[in-house]
């Protein structure tokens, strides 16, 4: 009996043929995602109901906001998208630059239809907190960003257009 095709050689070659073929098809999957056009239709992002608090205990400002988001998520999901991490980022200067995520959501590919309804009106998840009383009347921009986590391949980041906004001129209470 030759050693070439004894029982361990057959086990080894059939196992690694399957693994090799799966790797080759995964590489084809990565290659195909370069040709699929990614559309993410963000119709509008707007901050609607903002509240600004003066935290006298810790000597800082806190801002809380609601926002409307009109976006169509259906076209971002191709066959190589596992989930997207969607977040709203507020960018302001006081006077150094700050980037704060006020809302985020992990959207799996099978949650698509309920998300489409849910996205229309949202309450911010996280407060904006500063180091002193320096948030009144600051100009800011709100940007909807998302990171796409694919099944095979690299994670990449995309974003919509920035919308200008302003913090309130006086405290809300």
């Amino acid at each position: 009996m030759g050693m070439m095709h004894n029982v361990t050689a057959r086990l080894n070659s059939s196992f690694f043929f399957g693994v090799w073929l799966l790797a080759a098809l995964a590489a084809l999957n990565i290659a195909s995602s370069f040709f699929i056009e990614q559309k993410f239709d963000v119709k509008s992002v707007s901050v609607t109901n903002m509240k600004l608090y003066k935290n006298t205990r810790y000597n800082w400002d806190e801002a809380d906001m609601e926002f409307t988001l009109n976006a169509d998520l259906t076209d971002i999901f191709n066959w190589n998208v596992k989930l997207i991490y969607l977040y709203l980022e507020i960018d302001y200067f006081n006077p150094e630059r700050n980037q704060v995520i006020v809302w985020d959501k992990i959207i799996w590919r099978d949650q698509l239809k309920q998300i489409k309804v849910e996205l229309t009106k949202n309450k911010g998840k996280y407060l904006i907190k500063t180091k002193s009383y320096d948030l009144i009347g600051r100009n800011a921009t709100a940007t909807l960003k998302w990171e796409v986590i694919p099944i095979t391949g690299f994670v990449y980041k995309m974003q919509s257009e920035s919308v200008p906004m302003q913090f309130l001129e006086k405290y809300s209470y």
Binding site: N6, R10, S14, F15, G18, L25
Partner: protein, 81 residues
């Protein structure tokens, strides 16, 4: 001939080795291609992974053990005189 641990299972002849190699290559390749086409249609890459996994397991079961269809061409040894 030295009898190792793996030889407890038994051996297969040369034609059986050729048949076993053909079998696992065709089974894995065809089922992976079918799974890839299905995952293109349904846009779920998971089907390719399932196809590779199950066809690999199936072909390991098919080629690992010395099934009787691998021993249909026994070697004809020359007599000693």
């Amino acid at each position: 001939m030295a009898k190792g641990f793996w030889n407890v299972l038994g051996e297969i002849d040369y034609e059986g080795q050729r048949l076993a190699e053909k079998l696992y290559k065709y089974i894995i390749f065809i089922s992976c291609i079918i799974g890839f086409v299905i995952s293109i249609i349904t846009k779920q890459f998971m089907y390719t992974g399932y196809a590779a996994l199950f066809s690999t397991c199936f072909s390991i079961v098919l080629t690992f053990f010395p099934w009787p269809w691998y021993n249909k061409h026994p070697l004809q040894w020359a007599t000693s005189d």
